[in-house]
Subunit: 618 residues, 2 copies
Amino acid sequence: MVSAKSLVKALLIREKYSRLAYHRFPRTTSQYLCSMQQEKWKVEDEVYFHSPPEENEDPYNLDDAPDNLNYVVKIRGGIPYVYDNKEMMEVNEPRSLPYPDLETYTLDLSHVLALIADGPTRTYCHSRLNFLEGKFSLHAMLKEMSELKEVKSNPHRDFYNVRKVDTHIHAAACMNQKHLLRFIKHTYQTEPDRIVAEKKGKKMTLKQVFESLHMDPYDLTVDSLDVHAGRQTFHRFDKFNSKYNPVGASELRDLYLKTENYIGGEYFARMVKEVARELEESKYQYTEPRLSIYGRSPDEWLNLAKWFIKHKVYSPNMRWIIQVPRIYDIFRSKNILPSFGKMLENIFVPLFEATINPKDHKELHLFLKYVTGFDSVDDESKHSGHMFSDKSLNPDLWTSEKNPPYSYYLYYMYVNIMLLNNLRKERGMCTFLFRPHCGEAGSITHLVSAFLTADNISHGLLLKKSPVLQYLYYLAQIPIAMSPLSNNSLFLEYSKNPLREFLHKGLHVSLSTDDPMQFHYTKEALMEEYAIAAQVWKLSTCDLCEIARNSVLQSGLSDKEKQKFLGVNYCKEGPEGNDIRKTNVAQIRMAFRYETLCNELSFLFDAMRTDEISTLSK
Amino acid sequence: MVSAKSLVKALLIREKYSRLAYHRFPRTTSQYLCSMQQEKWKVEDEVYFHSPPEENEDPYNLDDAPDNLNYVVKIRGGIPYVYDNKEMMEVNEPRSLPYPDLETYTLDLSHVLALIADGPTRTYCHSRLNFLEGKFSLHAMLKEMSELKEVKSNPHRDFYNVRKVDTHIHAAACMNQKHLLRFIKHTYQTEPDRIVAEKKGKKMTLKQVFESLHMDPYDLTVDSLDVHAGRQTFHRFDKFNSKYNPVGASELRDLYLKTENYIGGEYFARMVKEVARELEESKYQYTEPRLSIYGRSPDEWLNLAKWFIKHKVYSPNMRWIIQVPRIYDIFRSKNILPSFGKMLENIFVPLFEATINPKDHKELHLFLKYVTGFDSVDDESKHSGHMFSDKSLNPDLWTSEKNPPYSYYLYYMYVNIMLLNNLRKERGMCTFLFRPHCGEAGSITHLVSAFLTADNISHGLLLKKSPVLQYLYYLAQIPIAMSPLSNNSLFLEYSKNPLREFLHKGLHVSLSTDDPMQFHYTKEALMEEYAIAAQVWKLSTCDLCEIARNSVLQSGLSDKEKQKFLGVNYCKEGPEGNDIRKTNVAQIRMAFRYETLCNELSFLFDAMRTDEISTLSK
């Protein structure tokens, strides 16, 4: 029986990767890990986000960019190397930034892969998870009324005015279908003669665009707009993706939902800002929309930053995440990219350069203040023939039209983000979290890659299928942004969604909308998400507020905001870190969660000692 | 095998009761029934509702009351008798208004009661219902895309801009919890020193009211307000009822949610009007809130009418229904009422008087223009020891503290409404529909009573348990206003709700909210109801629009409005009666429903003829 030891080793591996990238790792678990190794625990540096500008500050102020460090950056074989100067580059002596090389990574990966297949470990984790579920259900029966009493006597704070963050949402689908429809009609009514596109060198007015599609916007309805997911999209990610094209026309997607087009992404910016205004008015809701960087060209970043600044897209209620679609194969087959390495270069070199020399990259430097992380997105159910190992071709040599596998994407994104974060930390700049889509469909090994490389994940449905991973995600309190309505339309019926079960066991789950345009009906997509979960699963106020609190913790909101929304001690774990006056989460609940986690960790370490003793005595 | 014949007889019985009360009966079924009896079918008079006043008309105009007929009305033994004048009353010669007497009623009732217990009939109905379900599921598989194509090509109309009526909602809970909370806080901030109550002769300001409850409205939250249903209310109608008391204080219910109190129901009226303004802005949503008449005193009607007029509560998007709680036992035990007969008198005599002599009852006459029906409400799961029969005591002799059973309430309400409708029809005044709560819980016999007496019902969950009744409700197309979110908190988990099954089979179902204050989370309760149903049951646009169309048909909206919202031929059944440009329901769907109903009716009549022939040949 080496289950316990292997589980502890897996946690240590995650802690290592987390520390390197300034990702977050729960203090409680970390303390137990330290005490296991007879080390003294200390608070470690974690991610740093900018506080939003004060009301009298200009969020678009380009003048505070720090000086040029004159470092030189070069990505080789997918790994960024930073040199003190050109000379050092020529002699190939990069600054030492420790990173897990491919060998280490594949070794660590295979440890966890072996673990999730190991019989005794599976039994152990399965029974611990059952125990966690049973324990919560007892807690609910015994303490439900006390929790309710506690939140009832909590003045001035209820589910409506606790802060909630929509932790997973795509910017291009952040408005609901009705909103998009109204916006399209409005533009057609107010500016039909504006030139909005260019096709084969011919400039086209808005009216001409619609004429070329044989369409009168007056007749347009949400049905003909056809952006909503339905029964037809279940298990059809391809059909779902095409729902991003209003009326099935990619012309309209380009015009209304893109940042780069003839009108400089103006329509898209206007809609996003309308969504932002609604959030600001609602006061208690925040959102973390994803904008795309594809890696086709290094200019994408500057264009995006300019779009952001030109259209004044900043909102105090939005924090931005960059999503990188895993579609190298498409670009390669169209000969847009020579290798996967070039794609990584296009994505990351501009970020290193803006970090080294912000003065010459003012726009990007500014925009990055409001970016808090990276997402990796695409259909996980697509099968990849390649098995990632230390024998895999390095990105510069990956020139075939085949798409690299999920774990390959994740490793190279992680290493780049990690090294970038270290450089930014050195300069006192904000760092980024890696928050990939993971475990929505496909292989459960995706969840192993993310266990090492991600700060937190979106979806995580497949944790259902692996007790070991589920238990590890519990012990490491890895945040999971779940979107049961999205899953319901794509991969898993609502009633089978594991969210409630995960919440009960104590996994760190939040609720998010994913794509209001495709999935939601009402004007308040996030509230719709909470309402349906509350109704179908009969969640209590305390449950809902716990999820909302989780969402703030998971999010890229700054330390200052988190102090304001959760309490000054939010960094501490357990009831100490909770201010019920701000979160409306009962201390009874917080204490239960904390004690339960401590209990599981103690139990694990006791099991490990017993193992060691029995091994010694053999 | 006399199943078919007995089923036809049951339909004939319902048709008789419907005709008498000017309730609605489907034309298709009626035509089949006529042809069965070799009678010529003709269009019959049905309910008449006032069209809403034009924009330039004053909805509170008291001057158009018709003259006094000088009739005299007297309720004896629960039955209203109308006399041409006092002299005729003295010689006891009432105007002849045919009504089903107790003997007829109990006979008819027992026919249907015997039918639902009859083995062969159950088998027959069960297999027909299975067939209906299977048929729809085939239809969905084959025609889903065609339906979708049809609605997609329908210009300018989609689920968002088809008319929807909230067919079952209680006025005292028509605002959501957050709305009530905000309103309470607002009144406290703006008028703390206003005298709003009188307790033991002592006048109290709003501030004093809250002080006496040891409460500071600033601290109030939706949790402490405690009006939302939760896990605690499941199968506890008593606990649910107490949720109508904000903060558990009946003082606040009196002050904020009642039409009769020290401030003349002003706060309640203001909140109702806020809800109405939101509906008017949304444009496509209508609602039919229930206001209570208890029958404690004959003044209730005048007070209610005055409340309505004084506070100008009229809204084009609201049509009113009067709910009569079945709580005679409570009033009797407090000695407020001497007998059940007196309760009926208090409820109905004012209506007869206002109908006979509107000039002297101007307020009530006006208010009744906006009233479209009656509801009978209370906890159906309460058991009644009494078995209703023609031996039952008549209402004047019902002086015990025991509450009469459900069927007794329904019969006497029906007879009174029916006779009132006949009198009003004679005068060209609007008539009323009887729309009781029925089949939410308790005995399935409630559904038998309603099969005879009701135009349509709210809930109907228990149709799940009786194939015969479910099939009869299908054949007679009895509208059912369902509230799955309400059921989910009180009697039946969402996933077990039969709404989808009923919809598939072709029962005439609509969606309603019941009590937004207790059940809903978002600002748009009805949309929340539709959204959750759509998500959990994966309803298509066509399904949703069919439900919305049903809701308009079921409602008390006037002929003029229905023509506008559904199409000029809405009275016709089948695709002919549907204007897709207004309803967005595919004609393919309409044709399927119509053909299926015709097919079931033919099948039934064929079965009956076969029965007859085989009986003859024996």
